[in-house]
């Protein structure tokens, strides 16, 4: 995860793209990343009826199907057929990279503004990255059930790294966070590191 120790200024373009290779190829967003959310093995038991009693679970499932599932699907198909006549699309906006705060001349307030806006967009993106990694860990835990401690070690480790990186970069900036404060935080981090060494 390229958020680790990369700092507030610079090194952003590669960050997300290298980690999620599927985004760099143009894929339709409906298909989720199959490697991140693997399907659990099917556990449908073989039907082996030994009694003459009726299978109540089958009855209930058929009841549910005819009373709830079919009407709802029919309604949705009806509405979709109306909607399909005028279909239109929306796109995901891509922003150009502008010079960072460190590359701005002193007193060039327009450059400061652009850098600040870019930093805010990157902040939002990083928040979403953390949410996605969290979601993956949670999904893995749900999938594995009791044995999540061993089987989900990779997801949990990734989440821990990402959360640590996020905390170290954007941690206690607060509600009025800005690119400048983030830069100052980075400076403090670097100073602390230099002092340790």
């Amino acid at each position: 995860m390229r958020i680790v120790e990369k700092g507030c200024a610079g090194g952003r373009t590669e960050g997300i793209l290298f980690y999620f290779p599927s985004i760099s190829e143009y894929k339709m967003p409906q298909d989720y990343d199959k490697d991140a959310y693997p399907e659990p093995p099917r556990q449908t038991p073989v039907v082996d009826k030994k009694t003459a009693l009726p299978n109540t679970s089958l009855i209930i499932s058929k009841l549910f199907y005819y009373s709830v599932d079919l009407p709802v699907t029919a309604f949705r198909d009806a509405i979709d057929s109306i909607r399909n006549k005028n279909k239109f699309h929306y796109y995901h906006q891509r922003f150009r990279r502008v010079p960072e705060l460190t590359e701005c001349q002193e007193g060039d307030f327009v450059c400061y503004y652009e850098a600040e806006m870019q930093w805010r967009r990157d902040y939002k993106v990083d928040q979403e990255i953390v949410k996605i990694v969290q979601h993956r860990a949670r999904a893995c835990q749900q999938r594995e059930g009791g044995s999540y401690v061993q089987n989900c070690a990779r997801e949990y480790q990734q989440f821990q790294e990402v959360a640590r990186a996020f905390q170290s970069r954007y941690g206690d900036l607060g509600a009025y966070a800005s690119a400048r404060k983030c830069l100052m935080k980075q400076k403090e981090r670097m100073m602390a590191k230099a002092q340790e060494a």
């Binding site: 909607r83 279909k87 929306y90 796109y91 995901h92 307030f109």
Partner: protein
């Protein structure tokens, strides 16, 4: 007085005639007999006598809630119907990749048709907002720079005294008549 007694006898007669049909309960008030409370016609009460419950008025609360419901639903129902029709007949947009060489308009980045309409007709495009903000910042930056320069210039002029500001008007030396000072008094 006599009218009352006539009414009373008439009521008692009516009550005696038809003990089952209790048409007018108030006739019992006129007769001198005491009303046996257990014999009062009960329909949906389970048991016990009928009570006259004294509670505080619900008139004002009821009126307020009725009026509130009325005014909220006056615009609420048309709005809900409109939004339902938009969602059913127009529907939300679908996410797609940006085709090659195509620059989407600024409203084509939103999903819901009403949001798109607002972004298209009411709001300025985010690019325009960005540029407006940058223009404002540049103007303010220029103003700040000019003010700083002015303060600097004032400081210099005040210090050196050779500028167009901060000098005291002195008389022209050539106007002073030095004639009578040429020779000392003796």
């Amino acid at each position: 007085m006599t009218a009352m007694s006539v009414l009373r006898t008439a009521a008692a007669f009516a009550a005696r005639l038809n003990p089952l049909k209790r048409a007018n309960q108030s006739s019992h008030l006129l007769s001198r007999a005491v009303v046996r409370s257990e014999q009062v016609a009960v329909r949906y009460e389970s048991h016990g006598k009928r009570m006259f419950v004294i509670k505080p008025t619900e008139f004002y609360d009821g009126r307020f809630l009725k009026l509130m419901r009325y005014y909220v639903l006056l615009t609420g129902i048309p709005l809900a119907v409109f939004i339902t029709f938009v969602n059913v007949f127009i529907g939300e947009a679908e996410l797609a990749e940006i085709p090659e060489g195509y620059e989407p308009e600024h409203w084509e980045y939103y999903k819901h048709p009403i949001t798109r309409w607002i972004a298209r007709n009411i709001y300025d495009s985010p690019v325009k907002d960005y540029e407006k903000m940058m223009a404002l910042i540049q103007k303010e930056a220029e103003k700040a720079q000019m003010r700083k320069r002015e303060l600097e210039v004032r400081r210099h002029m005040r210090e050196r005294g050779d500028g167009p500001w901060f000098f005291v008007n002195t008389l022209n030396e050539e106007l002073i008549d030095q004639g009578h000072k040429a020779v000392p008094d003796e």
